[in-house]
Symmetry: C2
Subunit: 247 residues, 2 copies
């Protein structure tokens, strides 16, 4: 039975780790079956409606989150108050792991669509990690993966010299937001797209309209449900590397 708790998030109850669809992927795959019983007794399974904040930057951190489903954006705010998105998390990713070493979060985590995540309290976690090498290895792997992502983000998506013009970078971003190998692309708000590339909402909108007019992109879905693009992948790939593409 679902009931709402503070901040709009919803407690689904204690996690049922042994049934978790992500038991293979998620960090809990490194918890032995016998430990699992006690493990999930202190893991909260939470649901976050779109727009909810999982945690705030600078806030004292006493736990982190394993995403079961949905998408989360990690945001940093510049002194001028503009939001810059530094990373996108999907199911199977870990949010707020920095909590394990610093005592405050490095960014604000916001649910983009409906999100389900397990909250793992730090106190218990530290204890558990000490004598669980596979779990540590798994986390190191996740951390390295995140590192690789941000570096790519910085090198290929962020602006600056040598960086492609906005149109090219937007094409790259869209491709990286692609759903598997399909032609579906997760449709973020125009503002979020700007926040990821470091361009203004207006510029993002202009380019997007342009791409749509040329028939490379089609807006599908409406309301909160299933918003996405249907894209001409081949065309986007050409634009992404700077080739001129005929409509």
């Amino acid at each position: 039975m679902t009931h709402p708790v503070a901040g709009g998030k919803t407690r689904e109850g204690k996690g049922n780790c042994s049934d978790c669809a992500l038991r293979q992927t998620l960090i809990c795959s490194d918890v032995s079956r016998s430990d699992l019983a006690t493990f999930h007794s202190w893991v909260d399974d939470l649901a976050f409606p779109p727009g909810t904040v999982l945690y705030h930057m600078e806030a004292p951190a006493d736990g982190f989150y394993c995403l079961r489903s949905g998408t989360v954006k990690l945001v940093r705010y510049s002194m001028s108050g503009v939001a810059r998105i530094v990373r996108i998390l999907k199911g199977g990713d870990v949010a707020g792991l920095e909590a394990a070493f610093a005592d405050t979060f490095a960014h604000t985590a916001v649910a983009v669509g409906e999100v389900r995540a397990c909250r793992i309290p730090l106190s218990r976690f530290r204890h558990m990690m000490r004598d669980n090498p596979p779990l540590q290895r798994r986390l190191l792997e996740k951390s390295q993966q995140a590192l690789a992502e941000v570096e790519t983000w910085l090198a290929e998506l962020a602006g600056g010299i040598g960086a492609a013009p906005a149109r090219q970078r937007l094409a790259r971003l869209l491709l990286s937001l692609r759903d598997g190998r399909s032609d579906r692309i997760h449709r973020f708000s125009i503002e979020d797209l700007g926040g990821m590339l470091g361009i203004s909402m207006e510029t993002a909108s202009r380019i997007l309209s342009d791409l749509t007019r040329q028939g490379f992109l089609e807006k599908c879905g409406s309301g909160r449900a299933e918003r996405h693009f249907r894209a001409d992948i081949a065309a986007l790939e050409k634009i992404a590397v700077g080739e001129a593409v005929p409509a």
Copy 2:
């Protein structure tokens, strides 16, 4: 006795881990004293002259490096061939750890000044890591630290909307390159400074000249030796947050 080997790097001989000045800081601090004997038998202690490449992006990775002293820049080249610096490593940092999970390096590592580093072959390392939780924990910590650094880099130093104007960002960068709490700042080439901020060499130069003219910065040292700035930290700090500063 030092003799040169391929690529200009120099083999100093097998590492003497028990004497290493960084035994407390570096990852080897998690190798037990008894293991140390066999450990350092397969660790190479290398010296790299300025400008040497430790490893290339995309190259097959079979080991990684622990920096003992000196500075290394991690570079990515955009399709247009422009170098973008994604991270700066100093003594105690680990370079190329991604090798442990991917089989190719994520960037090119270049020695900025004279660099000394221990090369740790992957095969041995994997074996060693398996049953050494403290070492894993240490590496996870390093990885998280690197992640935090890149994210800050992206949010505060990279260009784009909401980002500060180049002058402000350069001031921040210089402060982050400061040597401890002194007024000395490691002096990178004008091209490298551009590469870090994603601005052109010309823009970097203009701003730097300006800062020098205003007396906030003084170029010291010459040749390859000891190039550095002597800076008016207080002034730079004001510029970094966007305050107007009188000369």
